[in-house]
């Protein structure tokens, strides 16, 4: 079951494959050339800082989906279990800890694996598994550690004082990096990185908005394009790639070309995809159904102000996690409500994800809003974004088929 790949239809995927290869190769090149490599959690504003300072960031959490897609996740899970980590812990945690502690020593890793870190960040921020995974790594790799502090604030409650505290932490990080690497921080380079990120976010929103057209030019099967939003924020690589994607999808819209020939049902997906089985997104096609919007992809629906680069990356760091988790449940429900209207959603699929409690909590409330306020039928299935053993294809198909029949019946009646 694991390693099932989605049928992708965007030409941009060819360029994406190269971007992925280049990203990992760049990490190894930096290591070989003795340039600093830092491992950091994803979805925060530090990536812009690292690129601005010439430090190569590596994201174990982005590595995990790749391991799941290729199938090395199982071996990493085994390593984590051998070290005493419970099977109830998040799959990202188990994969990344298993890989960092033992898997990293294996030969013939996909993309040559990850280059070992020269620095690490021990987080007080983000979800517990991410925070704890980095603590395990900090304990394991004997490298300098920066202890970060970012309070968990509901998105709608973020005020200037939170941003000011975030800025103070970033300034502390800059001093740490300058001291450890001898590299100098240049605010103008950071400003440029923020300009790139802001443009990437704007393009991202425009790309996502094309999916509101009927038929939708692409589906969730193409969600891998978000690789650049995770790893290449702050660079022209993301901007150039996304411009090409936008052009391609705009052309499809202009031609009235949908991802499938006869789109009948438009779906919303809540929670992280099953990285080991992206083919699920093609399963809907037998019902002429397409997933046209997701919660996860809205994580980059933000704008930064290049005139205030430090404040911008502090804001990005504060907002990224609450935006898609249960820290801001009401905000998330607002987002879904808007998506249902904007993307003309017929039905929703909620992945009850054993590997992600912050995103899975609140799904019953979401389901109730969908039914009672939006009259959108939905189905929830049990799964896990990293571990195929916690997912039943039969349960998934049964539930999806029932949902599709319900939606078709509803459409027929109306």
């Amino acid at each position: 079951m694991e390693g099932e790949k989605a049928r992708k239809r965007l030409q941009a995927n060819t360029a994406l494959r190269q971007i992925i290869t280049d990203f990992y190769a760049e990490g190894h090149r930096a290591k070989a050339e003795r340039r600093p490599v830092i491992w950091i959690p994803p979805m925060n504003g530090l990536i812009e800082l690292f690129y601005a300072m010439g430090i190569t960031p590596v994201f174990p959490e982005n590595w995990a989906p790749l391991c799941a897609a290729i199938g090395t996740n199982r071996k990493n899970f085994e390593y984590a279990a051998q070290r005493g980590f419970s099977g109830d812990l998040c799959g990202y945690f188990r994969n990344n800890v298993g890989y960092a502690l033992d898997g990293i020593n294996e030969e013939n890793q996909p993309l040559n694996g990850l280059p070992a870190p020269d620095f690490l960040i021990s987080f007080g921020a983000g979800c517990i598994p991410t925070m704890k995974a980095f603590q395990v790594m900090c304990d394991h790799f004997k490298v300098p550690v920066f202890k970060a502090d970012l309070p968990q604030v509901a998105m709608e409650k973020i005020e200037k004082r939170h941003i000011a505290y975030g800025v103070a932490q970033i300034k502390r990080l800059i001093r740490f990096l300058e001291d450890e690497t001898g590299l100098k921080f240049d605010i103008d380079k950071l400003r440029q990185a923020v300009i790139h990120t802001n443009e990437a976010c704007r393009l991202w929103d425009e790309i996502m908005a094309t999916r509101s057209t009927i038929p939708s030019p692409f589906s969730a099967a193409e969600i891998g394009i978000m690789f650049v939003m995770v790893t290449r924020h702050g660079t022209e690589i993301a901007v150039n790639f996304l411009r090409d994607v936008l052009q391609e999808v705009n052309e499809k819209v202009a031609r009235g070309e949908g991802v499938i020939p006869h789109e009948k049902i438009r779906l919303f997906w809540d929670n992280i995809p099953l990285w080991y089985n992206m083919q699920l997104f093609n399963y809907f096609e037998k019902w002429d159904a397409v997933v046209v919007a997701e919660t996860y992809t809205s994580a980059w629906s933000l704008r930064l102000n290049p005139d205030e680069p430090l404040e911008s990356i502090a804001y990005k760091s504060l907002v990224s996690y609450p935006l898609v988790s249960c820290v801001s449940l009401n905000k998330r429900i607002e987002l879904i409500t808007r998506a249902v209207r904007d993307y003309k959603i017929d039905g929703a699929i909620l992945h009850s994800n054993r590997s992600c409690r912050p995103i899975s909590m609140g799904q019953m409330d979401i389901q109730r809003v969908l039914a009672e306020e939006l009259s959108v039928p939905s189905v929830m299935f049990d799964g896990d974004h990293m571990d195929g053993e916690k997912f039943s294809m039969a349960q998934f198909q049964t539930r999806i088929d029932a949902l599709m029949e319900m939606i078709l019946e509803k459409k027929r009646v109306s």
Binding site: S86, C127, I128, Y165, V327, R357, M361
Partner: protein, 367 residues
């Protein structure tokens, strides 16, 4: 221990209802030990820690996934059953993902008149303290708005003094236990819980009475000196079984116990600064600590209480503690301290837990 206190703890929701009805006090539910209850008290609000024992959680299945820890599900179930229908407000100070989710789902479904998510820093620097004060001030502004009362530093000083006095006494009982007095951990558990769920004014006399009745316990030296570790540990049956098997629980590393009473609020002319210092100075819980901080607390406490075995009682699906466990196991192995771990799945003292405990104590005997 005094049966009256145990009874009051058992009836704490009833008592909160009475306080509300007879004295017109507002009652707020608190989630996690980082809620500055002193501030609530200074506004004449009665803080009641939402406390779940992990049992009877099925009712929560309509709102929470089954892979959330049993105490969170139990709290939600009690809320849905109307057991907390007297609450005027709910406050969570961010610790773990599950509790934050519980807080948001509670607010959405049970619609308390007042709710607040406090976002404390993770570090304990001057910068962090200054930021923490701004969080407290935001809470105060919200409370002023809701209650129509003005914040008074003087009132806060008095509230801090009350809580400090209670914590000091429980701290003294831990020390007496450490030094061989006739303390049962089950009593300490009730006293710790009383501090969290009863009006503070009512609990201190019980602690004083307990302290004054303490005697040295001649048989204690023969028992194994145990530390228990976990998040919410709320199964008296298991604690009792540990005692029956020859364990003397001298200290803990839980959401309820020694970490919370170990320190006093430092003297400072500004009570908010003092309070921020107190909450950040406390040994952090697993959700707020990095590994060095966890190691420091475990090592120091083991040494201070002369602990010779540790029992990890982890709630099922409790990610912070499950993630810490292999690390802490190694910390203990370095010191030659034996440990055992089991998970609590809302079923209390199960046969499996009994067997593991019995095996562990047999091993300790041989050792």
């Amino acid at each position: 221990m005094n049966r009256e206190l145990k009874d009051l703890v058992h009836r704490h929701r009833e008592i909160a209802r009475e306080e509300k009805k007879e004295n017109g006090r507002l009652v707020f539910g608190t989630l996690c030990s980082y809620v500055p209850v002193e501030i609530l008290h200074a506004f004449d609000i009665l803080p009641v820690r939402l406390w779940g024992d992990g049992k009877n959680h099925e009712r929560a299945d309509t709102l929470l996934p089954t892979y959330i820890c049993p105490p969170a599900r139990n709290i939600m179930a009690m809320g849905l059953a109307g057991q907390y229908d007297f609450l005027d407000g709910v406050i969570h100070s961010y610790t773990c993902d599950a509790t934050c989710g519980l807080f948001n789902i509670w607010c959405r479904n049970l619609k308390p008149a007042f709710s607040f998510l406090l976002s404390p820093p993770y570090m304990n620097t001057d910068e962090a303290v200054a930021y923490c004060i701004t969080e407290f001030k935001a809470l105060i502004a919200a409370l002023e708005d809701y209650t129509g009362k003005q914040y008074s530093a003087e009132r806060l000083r008095k509230s801090i003094k009350l809580y400090d006095a209670a914590r000091e006494r429980i701290g003294a009982i831990y020390q007496a236990n450490r030094n061989g007095a006739t303390v049962r951990y089950l009593d300490l558990y009730q006293m710790n819980l009383a501090l969290q769920v009863l009006p503070i004014e009512r609990v201190v006399p019980f602690y004083d009475a307990y302290l004054s009745n303490l005697r040295m316990s001649p048989g204690k030296g023969a028992k194994h000196r145990i530390m228990i570790s976990g998040s919410v540990v709320s199964d008296p049956d298991i604690l009792a079984r540990i005692e029956e098997l020859g364990g003397d629980i001298v200290v803990d590393d839980t959401c309820l116990g020694y970490r919370l009473v170990q320190q006093r609020v430092p003297p400072h002319e500004d009570p908010l600064s003092a309070l921020a210092r107190y909450y950040l100075d406390r040994p952090p819980c697993s959700s707020r600590a990095d590994f060095p901080a966890r190691k420091e607390y475990i090592r120091e406490t083991i040494s201070a209480f002369d602990v010779n075995a540790v029992i990890f009682m982890h709630q099922k699906f409790c990610e912070p503690h499950l993630a810490d466990h292999p690390f802490l196991k190694n910390v203990l192995a370095e010191k030659g301290i034996p440990q055992v771990q089991f998970e609590l799945d809302g079923e209390g003292l199960t046969g499996q837990i009994q067997t593991r405990l019995e095996g562990f104590f047999e091993m300790l005997e041989v050792k």
